[in-house]
């Protein structure tokens, strides 16, 4: 939890326009922290920083109603399906108006896959 606060503080200091997204981002980051704790996968600080920046940008896109281009289906084969499922889970369970699509789930899942591969080796 302290790590999440530290990361968000650092990101907000370097990019002031992130300030409005911090509260919602923190909820998502807490879920990620919990899910990876249950899987006994450690998230190093540099990975937290990258994930934090990604989640802040995700919340901004959702708030602005911005959609990213659809991702080719074959790219999903490069990521463990559990990581895509997990990504959908942490992004979709929020009690918010937004609905994270497959593209958003994939982009976050790439971060998860990097952590999973680091811990367990490539699938």
């Amino acid at each position: 939890m302290q790590m999440i606060d530290d990361i968000l503080k650092e990101l907000a200091e370097t990019k002031l326009d992130y300030l409005t997204e911090i509260s919602e981002s923190k909820q998502i980051l807490r879920k990620i922290e919990e899910e990876f704790r249950l899987m006994e996968i450690h998230i190093p600080r540099d990975r937290w920083l990258a994930i934090g920046a990604h989640v802040l940008s995700f919340v901004r896109r959702m708030t602005n109603g911005e959609k990213l281009p659809v991702i080719e289906a074959e790219l999903f084969a490069e990521i463990h399906p559990d990581m895509v499922t997990l990504s959908h889970k942490v992004l979709s369970e929020e009690k918010s108006a937004w609905q994270a699509d497959d593209t958003e789930a994939f982009l976050l899942a790439v971060h998860f896959e990097a952590l999973r591969a680091m811990q367990m080796g490539p699938s």
Binding site: D46, A50, A53, H54, E78, V110
Partner: protein, 120 residues
């Protein structure tokens, strides 16, 4: 005189159009292959002794911040236009993160600007 060498890391493994633009401007482009390539920009910049790194994902932040944390590169990210990238370049940033923008124009103008600034 050596050419400007620019590393491209895109979350989806793209960047081929940016590379064409860099080459057209007289630079050398290195496109990191594979999904998650953005997170390797700093590593490849160091291993290839590159001049610049360009990171692409939703905001380009993951690649830029990873490069900053691991190697101390000055970075800017969250950019959405070529002009914003040029401004970052002029202020001395070495790793610049964008939203997804695989265009020749971006590669060409970034390489041209780097050369104009006297980097190469």
């Amino acid at each position: 005189m050596s050419k400007v060498k620019i590393v491209i890391g895109d979350r989806l493994g793209k960047g081929q159009n940016i590379a064409k633009g860099i080459e057209a401007a007289g630079g050398t482009a290195i496109v990191i292959p594979g999904v998650g390539a953005d997170m390797k920009v700093g590593d490849v910049m160091v291993s290839e002794s590159a001049d610049l790194g360009l990171s692409f994902c939703g905001s380009g932040g993951a690649g830029a911040l990873t490069a900053k944390t691991k190697y101390g590169f000055p970075v800017e990210y969250g950019l959405r236009s070529v002009d914003a990238g040029i401004t970052a370049l002029r202020s001395g940033k070495k790793v610049i993160g964008f939203g997804f923008m695989d265009t020749e124009e971006l590669g060409r103008r970034m390489a041209e600007e780097y050369i104009k600034l006297g980097g190469k």
